[in-house]
Symmetry: C2
Subunit: 286 residues, 2 copies
């Protein structure tokens, strides 16, 4: 018996499409309804066999589903839950893939009608591409998926979401939502803040009458690749995970200022030690 009978995937792109593909491949689901705004993308998803049918109205699309997966931009998750809540079937589990959890989980939990359940999750996987064309069934294979239950979380609903991600090939980690947000702030949100600032700093360097970015070589391009990410998505993440991001930004400013002081003092042994510590940490995670 499949884990899920009727699954509604809201947002059939890289994240939603890849989960649909792998659950289908592993016989984890009987029927998949895709929900989204762009009919062309939804039609494509049917053609590719990623979903069975589609619906552009989320309220209509979630009817009869025993599991709803929200794979939309992080800022829209709470709004969509508010929208679909009255139309959920009894026992339905709603779960998401958003990269911020604290604010989303507490807001969504409070929106769920009696007898329906919300479970927050964040699969740490992705590529540069988007859209259902970019989705593939091994996206989550051996990647961590952090699931963030609260004291309110229904045990059976949690178990089902854990099983779903395990079937998808993920290594499931259960974690407090606040801890999740602080860790993701450090390993993902902070690097984006750092990269966006670096490009703006170098792009704004106006000592010479020319754009010095033209002298940049491959290293700079690789390093700043993440500064090409979607500005609207990152605006939303910065708003939703403000406190944790501020904490890591302050920690970063402290480290960067230490390094600045070493450069200013021409402290050779201190500089070597600073760089060597960093290299050691970096090399340990390759």
């Amino acid at each position: 018996m499949p884990l899920i009978h009727r699954m509604a995937v809201v947002g059939v792109g890289l994240i939603g499409g890849s989960l649909a593909r792998v659950l289908r491949e592993k016989n984890g689901v009987e029927e998949i309804v895709g929900i989204g705004r762009t009919e062309k993308n939804l039609r494509k998803a049917v053609e590719l066999g990623v979903i069975d049918s589609y619906c552009q109205d989320p309220r209509e699309g979630v009817k009869g589903a025993d599991l709803v997966f929200l794979a939309t931009p992080v800022c829209s998750i709470t709004r969509i839950v508010a929208d679909i809540a009255p139309f959920l079937s009894p026992g339905c589990i709603v779960t998401d893939g958003g990269s911020v959890k604290g604010m989303i989980v507490s807001a969504c939990e409070s929106l769920m009608p009696e007898g329906t359940f919300f479970v927050g999750a964040h699969p740490i996987a992705g590529t540069e591409k988007s859209g259902v064309d970019a989705s593939f069934s091994t996206l989550y294979s051996d990647k961590r998926c952090i699931i963030t239950p609260t004291p309110e979380t229904d045990k059976d609903a949690l178990e089902k979401v854990v099983n779903m991600w395990t079937v998808a090939g993920s290594q499931v980690v259960l974690m407090d939502a606040e801890k999740h947000d602080r860790i993701v702030a450090a390993i993902s949100h902070l690097p984006h803040m750092v990269a966006y600032s670096l490009v703006n700093a170098v792009g704004g360097y106006d000592r010479y009458d020319e754009n010095i970015l033209k002298y940049s070589a491959g290293g700079f391009r690789d390093f700043t690749r993440i500064a090409s990410s979607d500005p609207v998505m990152w605006r939303d993440i910065a708003l939703l995970n403000r406190d944790a991001i501020l904490e890591t930004m302050d920690l970063y400013i402290e480290c960067f200022s230490q390094l600045r002081a070493l450069v200013e003092k021409e402290d050779g042994p201190g500089l070597e030690d600073f760089f060597a510590r960093s290299k050691q940490s970096r090399d340990a995670i390759i």
Copy 2:
């Protein structure tokens, strides 16, 4: 008639080996002597046909050379010039490939005996690898090579170095050494300071009893790749290009603090604009 009769390459690794290979391929040189400390590497370079012969004593190796190319770590260039200066043949041109120019060019110029010439250069090219095994003749193809003449630079010597890099396939740009150092500080040295600091900040995040780097995914690893660079080399660069690096670090702190203020104020439009400006600059250099 080849551009160079007898060329001495001090440091037969990626940089020195690749220049030797391409000049030989283009018949730009008659004879190449490799100079280095590690006999095994030099023997390998002879076997690979990168050099004709080798010598472990730089003073001996430069005898009779009409061009000496210094492809050693940036901190050793001035010392080597001081060492070889009394042994140079009349008319000999000494040039380098170091990534810092101001201090090196002025020190080396003053060390050159009457009738011999120093020309500073910096080919903006490289890979993660090192050693003569990693060298290849197209390393400099279509890459910029910045040459930094001073009012003292001999015109014929400059022309010969420009021609050498043109034969190697580079796009030669002439630039004041100070301007070079400031531009390279912004596009290369600053990103390294930023990346080393990021890894130390995240590695030092101690709110939880575990190393949170283990949750990092591919994005973090790619972004911090340059923090695996050689700590000794970067110590030397930070010492040699101190003023320009401090200037760009201050510019960076200003940008990063602007972003921190936007996050703190929850300024949605300001955040979107900050990220969009960065994305636009970044996308323009792909």
